[in-house]
C-alpha cells in the first residue's frame, strides 16, 4: 500500500487527516483522501485567490461552484459554459489527451442540463518552426479534438493557438464548451432525498487514469513518461453521444433529482461533492459497479477516471423508468448506492463491498477540510524568460515586416486547423471560423450569442496584472465586433508551480488583473478551472490565463464580420489606441524577450469604445468591424482585406506605430461614407477598394502577396498527415 507521501500528501496534511478522522485511514480511505486533497480537486493554492473574482451579475443563473456556469439569454433560455484544461494528459498522449479533454468539458455542460451547442479550443505549443515534437503535438491534439467534437455532433466554432518556446515540454490544451437549456432543465449536482438511489450511467469502469488527478495534474512533468502510462484514458465519443442524449431525455422527463459528471478522481469526487452540496451522506457498494476488468480493488473502483460516465440521484419509484430510458439509448445504468441521512449534520461517505464497509469518511473531511494555502508571492527579477530567436531583421521594410507577421506561426491562417473541425452541425452557426472575430450562434428565441476565447501568455509574462486584464478586454472586443454584449465569463488559469514565489506572484497578479477588468466591463465570472504545475525541468510555461466569454446580440442577421465588404466603403479607426512594442509579436520576431511595460488603458474610454462598436454593428452602420490585436494596426488591416477579399487604401495617423500592440482597445471598422464620416469616436483612415493594401508612405502589397504569406507556417507544419498511430 502506498504511503501518504507517495500519494502526494504532505506530512502536515496527513496529520490533519489523522486529527479529523481520529484514526489512521485505511487503504481505500487514503486513496480517496489523497485525490480529494490534490491540487486538482481541492484548489489548495488557488481557492483563496479565486474569491477575488466578481461573480454577481444581472444575467447570472448559475455561478461558480456547479459543474458549469450559466447565464440568462431571454425567452426562458439559459446558456451554460465553462473552459477546462487537459494539459498534462495531452503532453503524454496528445490525441487521447485532447479528445478526452473535449469529452470532459462536454459532460460538465450537460451535467447542468444543457445541450452542448459549441466548442472552442485554446491551444499552446512550442515553436513549430524548430520542434518536430511540437508539430507532432499540434497535429495529434487537433486531430483528437476534431475526433471527439465531430463524432459527438457538437460544432467547434472557434479557438486560438499560440506557439512559444516555453510551452515546448508542457503544451496547453484548454477547451470551452457552451450549452443551451430551458431554465427549467437546469439541474444541480446537489444530492437530495435520503434513501434516494445513486445510479451510475455510461461506460464500464476500468483502470483508466488511476491517480490521474494527483499524479498528472498536480505535479510537474519530469522525464520518465513511462511511469504515467497506465493513466492514459481513451475517449469514446460514441459512448458519450449516447450518454448525452440519454441524460437530456431523463431530465426532460423529470426523472432525475440531480446529475453530476465523473471527471478527475472519478466516483470519489463526483459522489462526495454531490453529498457535500446536498448536506447528506452517501453509500456506494463497489461490488455493484460494472467493471471492464474483473479483478479491480475497491480503491481502484473508487478513483478510476474511466471516461463517459455520469452519476445521478433518482427517487426509488423512478429507478425503473430511468433504467428503461437508458436501455433504449443503449446506455448502461446501474444502481450503485444511495443517499443517507447525515448524522448530527455530518454526512458520511461509506464505501461498501457486498454490503461490508471497506471505508467510511466524513464528507466534510473529503470536500472541505483540505487546507487552503496562502501563496508567498514575490516579484521576480527581470529576465525570467529568455529572448526568442530573431526571425526578422529590424531593418526590414514595412512591407517585408507585414508579410513576416502574417506568415508567423502566431498570426498565420488557422484554416489548416479549423477545417478539421465541423463548424456547422446543429444548424446554429451564423459566423464560422475566420468570418468574424467571435463565433455567432442563433438561439431558438431568435436572438444569438457570440462566443470567443482569448489569452496571450507572452503579454502576461511582461506584466501579469495588465496582461490578464488585456485578455478580458480583447475577448470583450471580439464580442463587440459581433455586435454582442458580454453576459458572463469563464477562465482557465494555466500557471507553473505555485509553491515557487514568482509563479505565486504571477498567479496572484493575474487574478487581480482579471478581477479588475471584469469589474470595469461589468462582466461576472461564472466558472472556470485552474491548472497549476505546468512546468518541465526547463522551467515554467508562460503564465497563461485563458478567458472565454459569452455575449448576446438581438439580431443574428446583423452579426458583425471581419472582412471589408464593399468597394467605396470608408475605413475608420475607433478607440484610444496607444500601441507599444513590449511583448508584441514584432518584438518576438525581432528576437526580444517578453519584458518591459504594457500600455496603460483608459478604462472609461475602453468601455465606451466597445459600446460604440457594438451599437454600430447592431444598427448595420458598420459593414465590418475587427479589433486590433497581435501584429498591430497594419496586421489588422491586412486581416480585414484577407477576410473580405477586397483591398484598401489608408493613411495612418501621424506617428502611429503600424506594428505596435494595445490589445482590446481599438478597432478597424468600415461602412458607407455618409454614415461614418464625421461620426463621433471614429477617425477616418481611407477607403475599401481594388486588390491591394496600400498604407500611405509605408507599404503597398497585392492581395495575392498577402494571401500567400498568410497561408503561412501552420499550413507547412500541418502539411501532411502523420498517418496511423
Amino acid at each position: 500500500m502506498a504511503t501518504h507521501t507517495e500519494l502526494g500528501l504532505s506530512d502536515h496534511e496527513y496529520a490533519l487527516i489523522l486529527a479529523g478522522l481520529g484514526r489512521e485511514p485505511g487503504p481505500v480511505e487514503l486513496a480517496m483522501l489523497s485525490l480529494m486533497w490534490s491540487e486538482h480537486c481541492a484548489y489548495k493554492h488557488s481557492r483563496r485567490l479565486l474569491g477575488r473574482l466578481p461573480t454577481d451579475g444581472p444575467h447570472v443563473l448559475v455561478g461558480p461552484g456547479e459543474n458549469a456556469g450559466a447565464v440568462d439569454v431571454g425567452g426562458g433560455l439559459a446558456v451554460a459554459f465553462k473552459v477546462e484544461s487537459h494539459n498534462h494528459p495531452s503532453a503524454v498522449e496528445p490525441f487521447q489527451g485532447a479528445a478526452t479533454g473535449v469529452g470532459g468539458i462536454l459532460r460538465d455542460v450537460f451535467a447542468l442540463g444543457a445541450r452542448p451547442i459549441a466548442l472552442l479550443d485554446s491551444l499552446r505549443f512550442g515553436e513549430i518552426a524548430d520542434s518536430a515534437r511540437s508539430r507532432y503535438l499540434l497535429e495529434r491534439a487537433v486531430a483528437g479534438i476534431g475526433h471527439y467534437g465531430n463524432s459527438i455532433g457538437v460544432p467547434t466554432v472557434g479557438g486560438e493557438i499560440y506557439f512559444e518556446a516555453e510551452y515546448e515540454q508542457n503544451c496547453l490544451i484548454n477547451v470551452m464548451a457552451v450549452g443551451l437549456a430551458p431554465h427549467e432543465r437546469l439541474t444541480s449536482s446537489a444530492a437530495v432525498g435520503v434513501s434516494n438511489s445513486l445510479v451510475l450511467l455510461g461506460a464500464l469502469t476500468g483502470r483508466d487514469g488511476i491517480g490521474g488527478a494527483s499524479v498528472l495534474a498536480s505535479a510537474e512533468l519530469s522525464g520518465g513518461e513511462d511511469a504515467k502510462r497506465p493513466t492514459v484514458q481513451i475517449g469514446d465519443p460514441f459512448a458519450e453521444k449516447k450518454l448525452l442524449e440519454c441524460c437530456l431525455e431523463l431530465l426532460d422527463l423529470g426523472l432525475l433529482a440531480s446529475l453530476q459528471d465523473l471527471g478527475a478522481a472519478g466516483l470519489t469526487s463526483a459522489a462526495s461533492e454531490m453529498a457535500a452540496k446536498g448536506g447528506v451522506g452517501i453509500d456506494i457498494d463497489v461490488a455493484s459497479v460494472p467493471l471492464r476488468e474483473t479483478d479491480m480493488e475497491p480503491f481502484e473502483i473508487m478513483v478510476s477516471e474511466s471516461q463517459e460516465r455520469m452519476l445521478c440521484v433518482v427517487e426509488p419509484a423512478r429507478v425503473a423508468a430511468v433504467l428503461e430510458v437508458c436501455e433504449r439509448w443503449e446506455v448502461l445504468a446501474t444502481p450503485i448506492g444511495q443517499v443517507t441521512e447525515p448524522a448530527g449534520g455530518v454526512g458520511a461517505f461509506r464505501v461498501l463491498r457486498h454490503g461490508r464497509v471497506v471505508g467510511e469518511l466524513p464528507v466534510s473531511l473529503l470536500v472541505d477540510d483540505c487546507p487552503r494555502y496562502d501563496l508567498a508571492p514575490e516579484a521576480p527579477p527581470r529576465g525570467l524568460y529568455p529572448a526568442p530567436a530573431r526571425r526578422l531583421d529590424p531593418s526590414a521594410s514595412a512591407g517585408e515586416t507585414l508579410l513576416a507577421l502574417l506568415a508567423c506561426a502566431n498570426l498565420a491562417s488557422r484554416a489548416p486547423v479549423f477545417t478539421q473541425y465541423d463548424p456547422v452541425v446543429g444548424s446554429r452557426t451564423v459566423r464560422r471560423p475566420a468570418e468574424g472575430d467571435s463565433a455567432v450562434l442563433v438561439l431558438d428565441n431568435g436572438a444569438a450569442i457570440a462566443v470567443a476565447i482569448d489569452g496571450n501568455g507572452r503579454r502576461v509574462a511582461v506584466n501579469p496584472r495588465a496582461g490578464a486584464a488585456e485578455a478580458v478586454y480583447e475577448c470583450a472586443a471580439n464580442l463587440a465586433c459581433a455586435g454582442a454584449e458580454p453576459l458572463g465569463l469563464t477562465n482557465c488559469l494555466n500557471f507553473g508551480n505555485p509553491e515557487k514565489p514568482h509563479v505565486a506572484w504571477q498567479l496572484a497578479e493575474a487574478v487581480d488583473g482579471l478581477a479588475g477588468a471584469c469589474e470595469t466591463l461589468g462582466v461576472p465570472v461564472v466558472g472556470g478551472n485552474v491548472s497549476l504545475y505546468n512546468e518541465s525541468p526547463d522551467g515554467p510555461i508562460l503564465p497563461t490565463p485563458v478567458v472565454g466569454m459569452v455575449g448576446l446580440l438581438p439580431d443574428p442577421e446583423r452579426a458583425g464580420r471581419t472582412g471589408f465588404l464593399q468597394a467605396g466603403d470608408v475605413i475608420a479607426l475607433a478607440g484610444r489606441f496607444h500601441p507599444s512594442r513590449d511583448g508584441s509579436e514584432i518584438a518576438k520576431l525581432h528576437g526580444l524577450a517578453p519584458e518591459g511595460e504594457l500600455p496603460t488603458k483608459d478604462l472609461g474610454g475602453l468601455a465606451a469604445t466597445h459600446a460604440l462598436i457594438r451599437d454600430g454593428v447592431r444598427s448595420g452602420v458598420f459593414h465590418s468591424a475587427h479589433d486590433i490585436a497581435e501584429g498591430g494596426i497594419a496586421t489588422a488591416l491586412a486581416e480585414c482585406v484577407l477576410a473580405g477579399g477586397v483591398g484598401a487604401e489608408v493613411t495612418l495617423p501621424d506617428g502611429l506605430d503600424p506594428f505596435g500592440e494595445d490589445l482590446g482597445t481599438a478597432f478597424i471598422v468600415s461602412g458607407p461614407a455618409a454614415q461614418l464620416s464625421g461620426r463621433d469616436g471614429l477617425a477616418v483612415l481611407g477607403t475599401v477598394g481594388r486588390e491591394r493594401l496600400v498604407i500611405a508612405g509605408l507599404l503597398e502589397l497585392d492581395l495575392s502577396e498577402l494571401t500567400a504569406a498568410h497561408v503561412g507556417s501552420l499550413a507547412v507544419a500541418l502539411g501532411e498527415g502523420v498517418g496511423p498511430g
Binding site: N150, F238, K242, W329, P423, G426, S427
Partner: protein, 224 residues
C-alpha cells in the same frame, strides 16, 4: 407529406435534416429511431449524417443491421424515395442499396469545406428543382467514392473542387431504379443564408417533395 429521418446511436445531423425538410411548405419531418421497424407511414426516408455506432469498424457497417434498415430496404424495393447524406450514404452503400463504397480521404483527415456541386441529371426525383450548380458543405473523413462498375451519377464536384479524391469527381449516385440516392455533401447545412451563405441545399429536398406530389397525382410514374 411526411419525411422520416432515421436516427441511429451516434447519428448527429438528424435535427438539421428535420429542420431543413420542415422549411418546405406542407412537409413535416419525423425522427425514426433505429430500433423500431415501423416507418410510420412516411412518404420519403432520409438517412442523415453523423457517426452511427461511432464509425467503428467501418463507416456505416454496423448501422446497416439496425431493425429500421430492414423496413427501409423493403420501402426502397417498393420504389420509396430514400436519400442518404454522408454517413447515410455510407450506410446505404454498406446495405447494398447503392453501388460502390466510400474510402478514407487521401489526407486521412476530417475535412470541412464549402464546395460547388454540378448537377449531372437535373430531371430526377432528387434534382428537378435544383439549379445546375449548388454550393453545399462537405464534412467527412471517409468520402472518397469508389465503384469498380459504372454507376448512375447525379452530383459531381465542380471542376477543381473534388475534396477527397473521389473517382470521377463523384459526389452523389443513385440506384438503377432511381429512387435511392446517396451523396457526401450536406444539403441540410445549406438551407438558410443566415447559417452559411447558401440555401442551395434546400432545392434537393424541394425536388423530392415535388416528385412525390407529381407521383401522387399520377400514381403510375416510376421514380427517377
Amino acid at each position: 407529406m411526411k419525411f422520416g429521418i432515421l436516427r441511429f446511436p451516434g447519428t448527429c445531423d438528424e435535427r438539421d435534416a428535420a429542420g431543413a425538410v420542415g422549411r418546405l411548405d406542407g412537409v413535416e419531418a419525423e425522427i425514426l429511431p433505429h430500433h423500431d421497424r415501423d416507418l410510420r407511414g412516411v412518404d420519403a426516408v432520409i438517412v442523415p449524417g453523423g457517426f452511427s455506432y461511432g464509425d467503428y469498424l467501418r463507416t456505416g457497417a454496423i448501422a446497416r443491421f439496425a431493425p429500421v434498415m430492414e423496413s427501409v430496404t423493403e420501402f426502397a424495393a417498393a420504389g420509396g424515395i430514400v436519400l442518404g447524406i454522408c454517413n447515410g450514404f455510407q450506410i446505404l452503400c454498406e446495405a447494398g442499396l447503392l453501388p460502390g463504397a466510400l474510402l478514407p480521404n487521401p489526407s486521412l483527415r476530417f475535412l470541412f469545406r464549402q464546395v460547388r456541386l454540378s448537377v449531372v441529371d437535373p430531371e430526377c426525383a432528387f434534382t428537378n428543382a435544383c439549379p445546375l450548380t449548388l454550393s453545399v458543405p462537405v464534412k467527412h473523413t471517409t468520402g472518397r467514392y469508389y465503384s469498380p462498375d459504372p454507376v448512375d451519377v447525379v452530383f459531381k464536384y465542380a471542376p477543381g473542387e473534388n475534396p477527397n479524391g473521389s473517382q470521377d469527381d463523384i459526389a452523389g449516385v443513385r440506384n438503377a431504379a432511381g429512387n435511392v440516392l446517396g451523396l457526401m455533401p450536406h444539403p441540410e447545412h445549406a438551407v438558410d443564408p443566415l447559417c452559411g451563405g447558401s440555401a442551395d441545399g434546400l432545392t434537393i429536398f424541394a425536388s423530392i417533395a415535388a416528385h412525390l406530389r407529381a407521383s401522387a397525382s399520377t400514381p403510375a410514374t416510376p421514380a427517377g
